[in-house]
């Protein structure tokens, strides 16, 4: 029985990757989105006629532990989640929620008025409003006819 097929030696790795994905998916639904290596927090970006919206779910983060800054076309989000009344690990029956510090930098879309950025934080959902800069009028380019 051939273990590897000569034509595509990477098939075995692909199979293994697929199998690993399947196993990881079935481990626990609760860990969805928290796999190692993904930037935290995950964000969604929406476009509206007048603005862009960036949303992130940050449950349990206090407003004073959240910091947003804009520089050089980058939006930097920084924060931490502190658990009230930290207990020794043996008191825990389940521990699925993540704690600690995080930081994420996002490139801003073009033509955003950086100085007019606003954000609100309601029920653990952060929404950042990025107003679009008034778009430049299309400029007509004259075409000159040159004699042959």
């Amino acid at each position: 029985m051939a273990v590897f097929r000569w034509g595509s030696p990477l098939d075995a790795f692909r199979d293994m990757e697929r199998e690993m994905d399947r196993v990881l998916r079935s481990v626990n639904q609760a860990f969805e989105g928290l796999r190692i290596g993904r930037p935290y927090p995950p964000v969604n970006v929406y476009e509206r006629p007048e603005e862009y919206l960036i949303t992130a779910e940050l449950p349990g983060v206090r407003t004073e532990d959240l910091e947003l800054s804009v520089a050089n076309g980058q939006l930097v989000m920084r924060g931490q989640r502190v658990e009230p009344g930290e207990l020794p690990p043996e008191r825990y029956r389940r521990s699925e929620r993540q704690h600690g510090q995080w930081e994420r930098a996002l490139p801003l879309p073009e033509r955003v008025q950086e100085e007019l950025l606003t954000a609100d934080f309601i029920n653990g959902v952060l929404t950042i409003h990025l107003p679009k800069a008034p778009s430049a009028q299309p400029r007509q380019i004259p075409i000159s006819e040159s004699a042959q």
């Binding site: 509206r48 929620r97 993540q98 029920n123 653990g124 959902v125």
Partner: protein
């Protein structure tokens, strides 16, 4: 003292009105710890407010169902997605020693905290053994 219920339980449909099928339902991450007087359960439910959270104890089953509001206005269209917005559903079986009458809950910044105090244990009663 607390045991998680599998999500596919037919009787759950009676306890909580099922969400319309097009809505995405997810399992929120939780912590459960013993604070000495009972158990405390914390669940991350971002986007859920006090009005949209249903917490039920029926018989010995604790069910939490949180409905989330849309995170963006109707005229917004998604251009980049890293997470899905969905309602939260999870249920647990409580053991006999939870004092159902004193269960309390609070929701702060999208985190639900449910306190499940232990029922006071009755004093051990000495039984006289008669001998003949």
């Amino acid at each position: 003292m607390i045991r998680e219920l599998e999500p596919q339980v037919p009787s759950l449909a009676a306890a909580v009105p099922p969400p319309p099928p097009e809505r995405f339902v997810c399992t929120p991450p939780i912590d459960i710890f013993d604070n000495g007087e009972g158990l405390v359960l914390r669940a991350d439910l971002p986007g859920v407010s006090g009005d949209t959270l249903e917490l039920q104890v029926q018989d010995n089953k604790l069910t939490l169902f949180g409905r989330v509001a849309e995170q963006a206005p109707v005229d917004a269209h998604l251009v980049h997605q890293e997470y899905r917005v969905g309602d939260y559903l999870r249920s647990f079986i409580l053991s006999e020693d939870v004092d159902h009458e004193r269960i309390s809950a609070k929701l702060v910044n999208g985190v639900l905290e449910v306190t499940l105090p232990r029922a006071p244990q009755p004093e051990p009663r000495r039984i006289q053994v008669k001998t003949q």
